[in-house]
Amino acid sequence: MALRNFKLFRGDKSGGQMENYQIEVDKGMVVLDVIHRIQAEQANDLAVRWNCKAGKCGSCSVEINGKPKLSCMTRMNEYSAEDTIYVRPIRTFPVIKDLVTDVSWNYEQNKRITPFTPDTKQKNKNGDYVMMQEDVDRIQEFRKCIECYLCQDVCHILRDHNKKDKFVGPRFMIRIASLDMHPLDTADRITSVKEDFGSGMCNITRCCTDVCPEDIQITDNAIIPLKERVVDKFYDPFLWLWRKFLKRNK
């Protein structure tokens, strides 16, 4: 056991400050454990979100010493004993109180995405869909997403430029990719990827991929392929001519 120094953001939408806490830390603790101990012993009304405490639900996203992380999966022994640990709410979304932010904007984006539209003709005689594992491997990667919104937090377009009206953010780019690459899905999503969801805004700095606690290759496996599909559909001069030609022949 050792006494450690913590600085936590305390405040709400009208403002706030970093406050000092000194607290005993036991072997094996993660940052969320320490926050809970501070809450139980020194600051009963300290607001923090958490649920599973095992990296499965994505509730406890915060910025620890400036890095967006899940506090339940950040071990105290990642930091040296004399370091003060700074914990702030994720910056891209408005603070509600202390470490809790208003992430409702993300739920609004999800509603804008055309729902899964399966091709029911693909059922076999027993009423089962047949899909091979290798055909679903790549969308299963996107479906590992725990909606922690750390990728949304570091996305420059959302964080630094606050262009939430222009770009849907990496979380929903992988959501769209998981539908667009689904072997059974029939909806056209590429027009809306360009027009409504702002795929052109992303300049592939890969910051989202770096912070993903599920190691989803957001940029390489979802965003770039979607951008390529947009290019194919709207900007490929040869394909453009070819389609014109086909149309005329019809």
Binding site: D12, D26, K27, G28, M29, V30, D33, Q39, A40, E41, N44, D45, L46, A47, V48, R49, W50, N51, C52, K53, A54, G55, K56, C57, G58, S59, M73, R75, I96, K97, D98, V100, V103, S104, Y107, N110, K111, P115, F116, P118, T120, G127, D128, Y129, V130, M131, M132, Q133, V136, I139, Q140, R143, K144, C145, I146, E147, R175, L179, H182
Partner: protein, 612 residues
């Protein structure tokens, strides 16, 4: 008192895990105006933590599977105390509910021929659990969430339900609190479906999160409903035991389903010493036979690590008690020597990650340390098997917060299927109830105000007991006195302590303002935890036998006499809690016949039906 916001729907569903979401989807599809109230953000509920899979007799991996075998497995796992009709509905309807998820966008792991893959689990005769690696719950909740948001359901997030309102004997609404602002809100509804999960947070070592505080049990109890089978609390055999801060965090049964074995400190594979008579004919008695089973030999019997959870949890406890435990007081769970590192990472990615980060241990190289953790409530609100309505008209319950489906012990994988099957049935039940009654729900304003007062006085007290500390005391008491092994003496002491906690609760004080105040939220949920804990302890004291998850050192073994009864807890006129035995209905003779067949007889019967 300040004006309290009123929101009106035909039906309010409380809880947005798998059961609540499925119920809300059903209500909406039946044309009801539906509100879904949840304590956390949408998609964060406990279902997200379910790992292993959803049990359904699809027969994709072993074509011998059939609803009858699933039903028989469920009854035997529940030590025949399950409500027969619920177990029947569950086994018959689970396959359709799983296929429906695929229709809504779920992407399960596939078999070689491209169908939904299924894995082995404790107590299931065949590979039966449709799964996605070891994150099946996430797949389910996300599928239901993404489908649900397009079905016209209004979702009220971070809103805590406090108490139900009645108009005469019928449900008419409930009072809740917005966590963000601390403001109160009245929901007016013709029916309410509770899908609030269990109450693992009453114990110190639990796989449950802060949300599991028995809100549904306590609200239903206060509204006059009955709580049934509350003595049956499942200790999952494999929770993490080290480091202390993650003690209790779940280690999926999928580890054993994929070949993991349990070893004591002497290197012995001890589960062979704990095979109960009921399962002896179907369980391997040598390591050689167990190994053949793992290699896919259909004539070999199942390894003893895949016995039901109650058996495995007690075995680990016994090994630790007899000083054959692991360094931190558990048993070793070894998958490293059974499967290749690549296999483990592919089949159990989140376990690999969880141990790597939280315990600094590589499960592809070393064994894990595991021990029992309070995981699940078999008991819950007493409901009608078909409609899921409680004894209070207009009050429905589904998922973990309802009782009866799992009897004395739940099989792994039967919870995710329970959510889907009975979530849908509760939605249908509520829709039928509403269409069959012609009334407008009236709200009693005095009732509303008294609920609000009870909540705010926790903040307004000058001084009082710290809710976090009272919660810790409750957890210590339940862990020690109402644990895996119980006795008259321990339970009586436990009940006495609970009486003290009830008194202490009257003086609990939360600091700070009402806006997003976890101390206050903690204090509000403590009432529910204490009510639930009392129901568990009192029911456990009454049941003088050992059956499934309920084991009494002073009454070892199952007693036939006790198979005739369920125990229900309810609130007396004077505010105290009483428990009573109620006689169980005679089972349908066909169901009884199926459950009592030997596995060979049943397999023959299923095969001959198929060949017709």
């Amino acid at each position: 008192m300040a004006e309290i916001e009123i929101i009106e729907h035909d039906v309010i569903v409380v809880g947005a895990g798998g059961a609540g979401l499925r119920a809300a989807i059903q209500c909406s599809s039946r044309g009801l105006s539906t509100g879904l109230v949840c304590k956390s953000l949408l998609g964060k509920a406990h279902t997200v933590m379910a790992e292993g899979g959803v049990a359904a007799a699809l027969g994709n991996v072993d074509e011998r599977d059939d609803w009858k075998v699933h039903f028989r497995d469920t009854m035997r796992g529940g030590k025949f105390l399950n409500l027969w009709r619920m177990a029947e509905l569950h086994a018959k309807q689970a396959p359709d509910r799983v296929r429906e998820l695929e229709e809504w966008g779920a992407v399960f792991d596939r078999t070689q021929s491209g169908l939904i893959n299924q894995r082995n689990f404790g107590g299931h005769r065949y590979p039966r659990l449709a799964h996605v690696g070891d994150r099946t719950g996430l797949e389910m909740i996300r599928t239901l969430q993404d489908y649900g948001v397009h079905q016209g359901i209004e979702v009220y997030m971070e809103c805590t339900a406090l108490d139900l309102l009645k108009d005469g004997d019928k449900i008419s609404g409930m009072v809740a609190m917005w966590r963000e602002t601390g403001r109160f809100v009245t929901f007016k509804a013709k029916a309410i479906i509770l899908a609030t999960g269990g109450a693992g947070k009453a114990w110190k070592i639990t796989s449950n999160s802060w949300e599991y505080t028995g809100d549904g049990y306590a609200m239903a109890y206060e509204a006059g409903a009955e709580l049934m089978d509350m003595e049956f609390t499942q200790f999952h055999p494999t929770g993490m035991v080290w480091p202390p801060s993650v003690r209790g965090t779940l280690v999926t049964e999928g580890v054993r389903g994929d070949g993991g074995i349990l070893i004591n400190s002497q290197g012995k594979r001890f589960m062979f010493d704990y095979i109960p008579d009921l399962y002896a004919p179907e369980t391997a008695d040598t390591e050689e036979e167990a190994a053949r089973w793992l290699d896919g030999d259909k004539s070999a019997r199942r390894p003893p690590e895949l016995l039901t959870r109650d058996v495995v949890a007690r075995a680990i406890r016994q090994e630790v008690k007899d000083r054959r435990g692991s360094p931190h007081g558990g048993a070793f769970l070894d998958i490293a020597s059974r499967r290749s590192a690549d296999d483990i990472k592919r089949k159990l990615p989140s376990m690999y990650h969880q141990f790597k980060v939280l315990a600094e241990l590589d499960i592809t190289k070393e064994p894990m340390e595991v021990g029992p953790t309070l995981h699940y409530f078999m008991g819950g609100i007493r409901v009608d098997s078909d409609s899921q309505m409680s004894t209070v008209p207009g009050l429905f319950a589904c998922g973990e917060c309802s009782g009866g489906m799992h009897g004395a012990n739940r099989l792994g994988g039967n919870s995710l299927s329970d959510l889907l099957v009975f979530g849908k049935l509760a939605g249908d039940g509520a829709a039928d109830y509403i269409s069959g009654t012609n009334f407008s729900a009236l709200i009693n304003q005095e009732e509303v105000e008294s609920i609000v007062r009870a909540g705010t006085q926790i903040l307004n007290r000058e001084s009082g007991k710290n809710p976090y500390l009272l919660h810790e005391e409750l957890q210590e008491a339940m862990q020690d006195k109402v644990g895996i092994v119980r006795s008259n003496e321990l339970l009586t002491e436990g009940i006495k302590q609970l009486d003290e906690f009830k008194e202490a609760y009257k003086q609990v004080k939360a600091d700070g303002a009402s806006q997003f105040n976890p101390g206050w939220h903690e204090a509000l949920s403590l009432r529910n935890l204490i009510i639930t804990a009392e129901a568990v302890a009192k029911s456990a004291l009454m049941r003088e036998e050992s059956r499934g998850a309920h084991s009494r050192i002073d009454f070892p073994g199952e007693q036939d006499e006790w198979l005739k009864y369920n125990i229900v807890a309810s609130k007396n006129g004077d505010g105290s809690m009483s428990t009573k035995k109620i006689e169980r209905e005679r089972p349908d003779s066909e169901l009884e016949r199926i459950a009592n067949l030997t596995i060979e007889e049943l397999e023959k019967e299923v095969e001959s039906e198929r060949n017709k």
